[in-house]
Assembly symmetry: C2
Homo-oligomer: 257 residues x 2
DNA sequence: CCCAATTTGTTCGTATGTATC
DNA sequence: AGATACATACGAACAAATTGG
């Protein structure tokens, strides 16, 4: 049952946008899941009574949103596609590109989400999962000596948090933890934070994570929550310190804000 | 300085996608903000040496992401556009469409974010802002008698939370609060929750909000946090109850799961 | 009110690329 | 290797919308 009419909307939409919306609601109404093949381009042209270019632009719109993927060749076509986490992260990142997030903004969220994640995982992880966490920790057992090692350890520590998030049964929590970590990494990269070594941050970071895994294994949700809370407070404090140092360095002498 | 070469990527991208990425990084590199006009279609065709259709598809990709908007006529063209919250919400919603979020998933997040929001706003709101909150509350002063009134009050209560979020200086927190509320509304609508009146939820909801505004005005962050925490616990409990009732109704007699 | 200029929007025909059989 | 089925890309023409005279 192809959509005979294009749905009305309040705003003036271009025809490709209308077609894209029509296809989208068509797919949802029929409950078609990932892998389902949409009608061929020629078919859609006939169904909607529009030119190839218009249909193609509509497909591009859906593709940009990560909802479909198209393949050439026989057996090819346009297929419903599950929006990937990477795509969702990129699309949401576009929104915050214009919002000028600060370190404080991101840490306000991380400070509540990360402890909640830890508490919800306490006593629910299998031994292999716990060992996987410990393995990531070994990547930064010894303190960094150079600035590059510093950055590598930073990445590894973010991977620890990402792995922890992966183990949550809550897709929303999982996404938000990873997204905030990503945004933080983007900001630190773009502002060139961690330009100078900060041993305190990573040595204490390692200690926290070891204690966290112990609490998780023991099934102590309260302790896991407290540990990650303390870790976040500490990381936030040190990050702000770094930022201050950076700002002071970049500002010319005698400049008044 | 137009991009002479198309950047390489690991994955095979179609030409419109390559062009879209090129334009995107071109805009970012030059720091062009919302309102900046991109070169005309004809100009882009010449610059990239590609057909009109290809360029148009690239523009559509950027438009679908909410990054540009195009207008016809003289003085028209393609303009850099700040991604709207609505667009970001819709795009992220697409991701979770495939993730099958539960009421519990969303409330796990709301339970930590809403109290955090309340605490961070205590003592920081102006009298007009506080009065605006109180005004929204008057919309559901008397208990609902019909199912339609029930739904209206539900919407009004969500508006209270949205307004509160609006007052946060943290764009990330603001977005997440509103997004989770939206997702919750979508789920309750699609699953037809609130089909029968539930006076307890809304009468206690009103009470909580009155006490919350008082705490905010008094600048008592701890109390504001506690109040919203309690409210969330309660709302979650009642929502789960509703869901159970609904499930029981929809299941045919004698059906075994 | 109409007309002209400008810019995006849409159509069609044709040709090319790519993967499957 | 060749035929087939499909998306991809190109180019030229035409349509629609907007602005200003």
């Amino acid at each position: 049952m192809p959509p005979a009419t294009i749905p009305e909307t309040t705003e003036r939409l271009s025809r490709p946008q209308q077609v894209a919306e029509a296809i989208k609601s068509w797919v949802m109404a029929n409950g078609w899941g990932p892998g389902h093949r949409l009608p061929s381009e020629l078919d859609l042209i006939a169904r909607f009574g529009m030119a190839k270019g218009t249909i193609r632009e509509a497909i591009r719109i859906l593709e940009a949103q990560g909802l479909v993927k198209s393949r050439t060749g026989p057996g090819g076509g346009v297929f419903v596609h599950q929006v990937s986490e990477e795509r969702a992260t990129a699309l949401l990142g576009n929104y915050f590109y214009f919002q000028h997030l600060t370190i404080d903004d991101i840490y306000q969220i991380r400070k509540v989400l990360e402890p909640e994640l830890a508490a919800s995982l306490a006593g629910r992880l299998s031994e292999p999962q716990l060992r996987a966490l410990e393995e990531v920790m070994t990547c930064y057992a010894e303190p960094a000596s150079s600035s590059e090692e510093e950055r590598e350890q930073h990445i590894a520590s973010l991977r620890f948090h990402a792995l922890l998030a992966e183990m949550s049964g809550n897709p929303l929590l999982r996404f938000l933890i990873r997204f905030t970590a990503n945004m933080l990494a983007d900001i630190t990269v773009s502002r060139r934070l961690y330009s100078q070594p900060n041993h305190e941050l990573w040595s204490t970071g390692l200690d926290y994570q070891a204690r966290l895994v112990a609490a998780l294994r023991a099934g102590d949700a309260v302790r896991a929550h407290a540990i990650l809370n303390e870790h976040m407070q500490n990381a936030h404090r040190l990050m702000r310190l770094q930022e201050t140092v950076l700002t002071q360095r970049f500002l010319p002498e005698g400049q008044i804000i």
